[in-house]
């Protein structure tokens, strides 16, 4: 297991290094000069050269990359052109809503998705199975921004049960916070929930057909013990892989959800920065988000090793 973990950590570090190269050079393809964006209208040639020297833009690109990487490793992602503020602190200020909604949405989709998949597999061919399968197919195809708007229309404007938009920290008012995030979390987790339900159903059906399940039944074990102790434990292995693939969807989807529900998170910060051509912020958000996804995938891979003894003892 240790060898497996070390191997995965090294692979993740290589991936993070490649990510940093992609992030840096992608942003350097941007047409226009960041010094001009900083100086505003009609700056003199000396001013441009001074700012370019201050930003380090007069150095070779490779030197600029290593200098940016060294700063990034120390937590310095540069200064925003629009806000004139440190990008790291800008991101940290907006981290809470994104993280809060992302984590709650992930937990909801795993719990409800796996439960729905198990129920569908146990009731295979019945009306409950059909209902779950149809809902899962719809859940995977529905645009989340549209689902969010439908939710606002029915639950907020028509029924008046939930607030329309905005975010309140749970530390400030837990009940109000829960009321405000419940709809964004369900909408954000919808497609992941659907994918998990489908995957759990098909892997449970696959496992139920195996010889060891027949043996367990023949030994006279209770149905519940066979299903939850023997079948689910084995069926969950491919589901964990899917959980890893869900993370980019949830993080990416947060941009849309924050826009629909008017929440000031990292996704919205990045979207605004794209329209303002604030490349330092875009670059900072891009590297932070991609490293988060890479690290989350590492955790998923390690837990995969933990749940799958064939990997653990290899």
């Amino acid at each position: 297991m240790t060898q497996y973990i070390v191997q995965r950590v090294i692979q993740t570090l290589v991936v993070i290094l490649i990510l940093s190269v992609i992030c840096f050079f992608l942003m350097h393809l941007l047409p226009g000069d960041p010094a001009l964006s900083l100086l505003g209208e009609e700056p003199t040639q000396e001013e441009i050269e001074r700012v370019r020297a201050e930003l380090g833009l007069d150095r070779p690109v490779i030197v600029q990359y290593f200098s940016w990487l060294a700063d990034a490793v120390r937590g310095d992602l540069g200064t925003s052109i629009k806000y004139r503020e440190d990008v790291t602190s800008l991101i940290l200020h907006r981290l809470t809503p994104t993280l809060h909604i992302g984590v709650v949405s992930f937990v909801i989709s795993v719990v409800l998705g796996v439960a729905a998949g198990v129920i569908a597999s146990i009731r295979r061919g019945g009306w409950l199975d059909s209902l779950i399968t149809i809902s899962a197919n719809l859940g995977m195809a529905v645009p989340n921004f549209w689902l969010g708007i439908l939710g606002i229309y029915f639950f907020s404007l028509y029924l008046g049960w939930l607030p329309v938009q905005g975010y309140v920290s749970p530390a400030e008012d837990f009940w109000e916070s829960t009321k405000r995030i419940i709809m964004p979390c369900l909408v954000l987790g919808c497609s992941s929930m659907a994918g998990l339900a489908r995957q759990t159903r098909s892997s449970m059906l696959e496992v139920i057909r195996q010889d060891y399940i027949r043996t367990a039944k023949a030994k006279g074990l209770k149905r519940k013990v066979v299903l939850y102790k023997h079948a689910l434990k084995n069926a969950v292995i491919p589901v964990i892989t899917l959980c890893g693939l869900m993370l980019p969807n949830i993080i990416g989807g947060s941009v849309i959800i924050e826009q629909v529900y008017n929440i000031n998170g990292i996704g919205r910060l990045m979207l605004t920065a794209v329209f303002d051509r604030d490349i330092i912020v875009v670059q900072g958000c891009l590297i932070m988000i991609s490293i988060t996804v890479a690290l989350a995938n590492l955790l998923v891979d390690i837990s995969y090793g933990y749940f799958n003894p064939r990997i653990r003892y290899r």
Binding site: I18, L19, L26, I149, I152, M270, I279
Partner: protein
């Protein structure tokens, strides 16, 4: 006692087996009612996109400030938007963008991905390591986030969406193709081709590619839905298609008038849902029909 069959008889038998295989594929694929239903939806979308100028009851670009936010009526079946433009006509024209972006982005991604996967799987060693690690890195970028970064570089527009989808979708094709090639390349017929001195390019294009293509066809169909959904999402955010009617941008515009005319958001979003669902369902059925282990399993 062994009987010696003539090469012609062997060839005839192969043709018969292939024909039976194809008949079985068609029977499984078309035997599902959902395929017919969702296939008709896809066909409907194609007809809508191709014949939009003849099908649209009004000019989708013509504004009429005396008829803004009108409810559905005989003249405007789905009502009008905040600039007095006919919603139904804009939805019909919107299918063109969805289809255009879907086809260009998925074809491009499939072409690049299949080629890279073929090279990585067949060449192995350092070439495989480089391609696989870059693929791993690109997969770590959430699609929308990557599209936003490309939007910052290229500005808003259709090509931003297409380039973002190329970069986002290529890794899946690389992984699937590489896996297929690794499974097939140890086959006897590949060894035979090497022995008779076939070039690497010939082995890859003539022998490996046709034998690894089935999962790529399934992926292509399903990715059309993914691309249409991504185009709608990016246009909703404002970095997608500008100037032309796009379903995602229409949902965004309608969001501000939810109370006055909810149809402005509901109708274009429902079109996205229906088309994406259609491609997913047809892709699912195609996968089941092409994979002998899955034939009829999820019927």
């Amino acid at each position: 006692m062994n009987t010696i069959t003539s090469p012609k008889a062997q060839l005839d038998r192969t043709v018969v087996v292939q024909r039976n295989e194809f008949k079985r594929f068609l029977a499984v694929f078309l035997g599902r009612k959902v395929v017919i239903f969702f296939g008709l939806i896809i066909l409907g979308m194609l007809v809508m996109a191709i014949f939009a100028p003849w099908l649209a009851p009004h000019d989708p670009y013509k504004t009429d400030l005396s008829k803004t936010l009108q409810p559905p009526s005989k003249e405007h079946l789905l009502g009008t938007d905040s600039l007095g433009r006919d919603l139904l006509s804009r939805i019909i024209y919107g299918s063109r963008i969805s289809l255009k972006v879907g086809l260009i982005s998925v074809s491009g991604a499939a072409f690049i991905g299949v080629l890279l996967g073929l090279i990585a799987g067949y060449m192995g060693r350092i070439v495989d390591t480089i391609i696989s690690r870059i693929t791993d890195a690109v997969i770590a970028f959430p699609g929308i986030i990557l599209a936003l970064a490309i939007g910052a570089v290229l500005g808003e527009g259709m090509w931003t969406v297409i380039v973002a989808l190329w970069i986002g979708l290529v890794p899946t094709y690389v992984r699937v193709m590489r896996g297929q090639v690794l499974a097939v390349k140890e086959s006897e017929y590949i060894n035979a081709a090497i022995v008779i001195g076939a070039s690497q390019a010939r082995i890859m294009m003539k022998h490996l590619l046709p034998n690894c293509i089935s999962p790529i066809i399934v992926l292509f169909t399903m990715n059309l839905g993914v691309a249409i959904l991504a185009e709608a999402s990016l246009s909703y955010l404002g970095i997608g298609v500008t100037g032309e009617p796009s379903w995602g941008a229409m949902v965004n515009m309608g969001q501000s008038y939810l109370v006055q005319n909810p149809m402005l958001s509901f109708a274009p979003g429902a079109c996205v849902l229906l088309v994406v669902l259609a491609f997913n369902m047809v892709g699912d059925a195609l996968r089941d029909a092409l994979d002998p282990r899955l034939r009829g399993s999820s019927r």
